[in-house]
Subunit: 354 residues, 2 copies
DNA sequence: TTGAAAGCGCTAACAC
DNA sequence: GTGTTAGCGCTTTCAA
């Protein structure tokens, strides 16, 4: 592997000149520039970015901590982030924490040793305080998706998302509404459900205790939906705090011979790709993944000193921690509530009242 | 950020000694070792892995090229690989190529500049010759999932997988069998279908032209299954070259009021997590993702000179390119073919013959 | 066992 | 514009 020295020798110039040519730090005469380029081509020279980093103090690398890269939602975020970073000439260290706070800490220590220029973290939502991660690296750190109050965060307005879902169901005429929640100590889940209840309350509605299910945000949890549907008075609509749960519920409903939205409406959250392709396509609160990714990277870069301050013009929104507005995507899993008679017949039980 | 020099000064020893202590290169007297450790703790010293890499010629990093990290199958592989690599103290550069050969090349060039110790690649299956990637880096490169004959590759025995699927359907008594394939110029797809046809042929069966559908391996393609089911003589079983397509088909079938496996059996390929959770759970040819990941990393490390030769004992299978045996996972999407009369009634068309 | 010193490939300050 | 050179933080001879 040839070095800058070799290039200099072959081109008949000094290493300094080659370096200037490479970095555009100074003008280089046309003639020398050509000779240098020829030497580079001839030798197949490639800069050693590690050496450059040692000298310049900036490695052009960023660490990305995700709980589980095989979860399509995180996968989509990681993809967006990685692409945005690549565009700015950064390479991404993938750190799959498995939602384990200990692994999370180990990764951050390693990243610190690697002198990454920054870190993007979707923290492990297992009770450990996300703030403890901040001091583990002394470079900019931005929390993504799962925000941390008072720290640079890029997240959706989960509360608003919950409100949008509720409003939609209310407008369709639903009154008996159930909910299937991820663990409520997870900040995003809590915010979504709070927003949902807020909006309900504004219309003198609420989710009755017997229509509230809590669990992990998995397909398996979603399939517990039958516990709701076997009640004497099943809900006419169900809100779930993410799409995976909604899809799990939908599968179970189908297997029970219940139709969505004819027998029960379903609203999800996230808008993962799968939601668009199931039948009927899911009405859901869409988080704009590309927007989250874009903003996360912009925010991080704005904190990296070696980056030109993003823009001198009007203070860019990307630099603040304004939560990203989710939007309701109405598809075909929601409809007005079924007539009482019809649905009880479908469910194979007698209505309590006609 | 403090350096090894600071540690040496505080501990009152030379940098060389600190380095030896850090790397265990030489015994260090108890007293000095303690003083060094104290200095390290006091200063919060962390080695600069970049500087170490420059000097030692090994960066302890590996590049991972994947077509699309938000595809759960690749996500699972990436996850397994990243974990295995982390265990061996390597950090992973995530490179999402978007199945674009040009991006693929750009990434490899960048990785070369970063002096990674090796690269793992699931190449972009878009017609570009995967072999062209080999010379772009001068470190070990292992092809994963999508193998390349004659190059270090870790893949499943796709041909065998196809055979297993066929055998299963034959044993159940199916004779009229359809198939939904990804683009047949994709090596893995071709191998799966060849194996499938081989086994069929061994039993004097074949997939008639009108029961063969080709497309991209997406949910959307899967939903074209109705083209098969609307034929005068629809298949009693369908083989798909991956689970995503099978799931797409399954969704469409449900929406048409057809039951799996009552009306038609479905066999997938891959065994992604989702297959286990749909209803009925999918019969599929399982690729052992953990095994692929483990083997890929073992193979790569075996090619990295700075790694101790994996094991001196009996030549480890992990070091060869023996394809990994897939296994058939029989779940509930397959059953004996329906009686002719019953199925034509279900499909709402008249049987051609009784 | 320890210290001194060279040098990995590069950038940047400085002198010309 | 261009060349020379110090030095980024570390490992690794080589002597002692």
């Amino acid at each position: 592997m040839s070095t800058i020295k070799d290039v200099a020798r072959v081109a008949g110039v000094s290493v300094g000149t080659v370096s200037h040519y490479l970095n555009g730090t100074t003008r280089v005469t046309r003639a020398k520039a050509e000779r240098i380029q020829e030497a580079i081509d001839a030798l197949g020279y490639q800069v050693d970015l590690g050496a450059r980093g040692l000298r310049s103090g900036t490695t052009k690398t960023v660490g990305l901590l995700v709980p589980n890269i095989s979860n399509p939602f995180f996968g989509e975020i990681a993809r967006g982030i990685e692409h945005a970073l690549t565009e700015r000439d950064y390479l991404t260290f993938l750190c799959d924490t498995g939602d384990d706070p200990r692994r999370e800490e180990a990764y951050l220590a390693n990243l610190a040793s690697r002198r990454v220029d920054g870190a993007l973290v979707i923290y492990a939502d297992q009770g450990a305080d996300p703030r403890r991660l901040r001091p583990l690296v002394d470079v900019p750190l931005v929390y993504v998706d799962r925000g941390v109050p008072g720290m640079p965060s890029v997240t959706s307005d989960n509360r608003l998302g919950g409100r949008l879902a509720a409003r939609h169901l209310i407008e369709l005429g639903h009154q008996r509404i159930g909910a299937m929640l991820g663990r409520p100590d997870v900040a995003n889940v809590a915010a979504r459900y709070e927003g949902f209840c807020d909006e309900l309350a504004a219309h003198d509605l609420e989710v009755p205790d017997e229509l509230l299910l809590t669990g992990r945000q998995t397909l398996a949890f979603g399939s517990e939906v039958d516990r709701l549907m076997r009640l004497d008075m099943p809900p006419t609509a169900i809100f779930t705090t993410n799409d995976i749960v909604a899809i799990g519920a939908w599968q179970k409903l189908m297997s029970l011979g219940l139709r969505v939205p004819d027998d029960v409406s379903l609203v999800g959250f996230d808008d993962i790709e799968l939601s668009r392709t199931i039948l009927p396509p899911l009405t859901t609160v869409a988080q704009s993944v590309p927007e989250i990714a874009r903003r996360a990277v912009a925010r991080l870069l704005s904190l990296i000193p070696s980056e030109a301050p993003a823009r001198s013009g009007p203070h860019s929104a990307a630099l603040d921690d304004v939560p990203i507005e989710p939007r309701l995507v109405v598809r075909e899993s929601t409809a007005p509530p079924p007539l009482t008679e019809a649905r009880f017949r479908n469910l194979g039980v007698m209505p309590l009242a006609n």
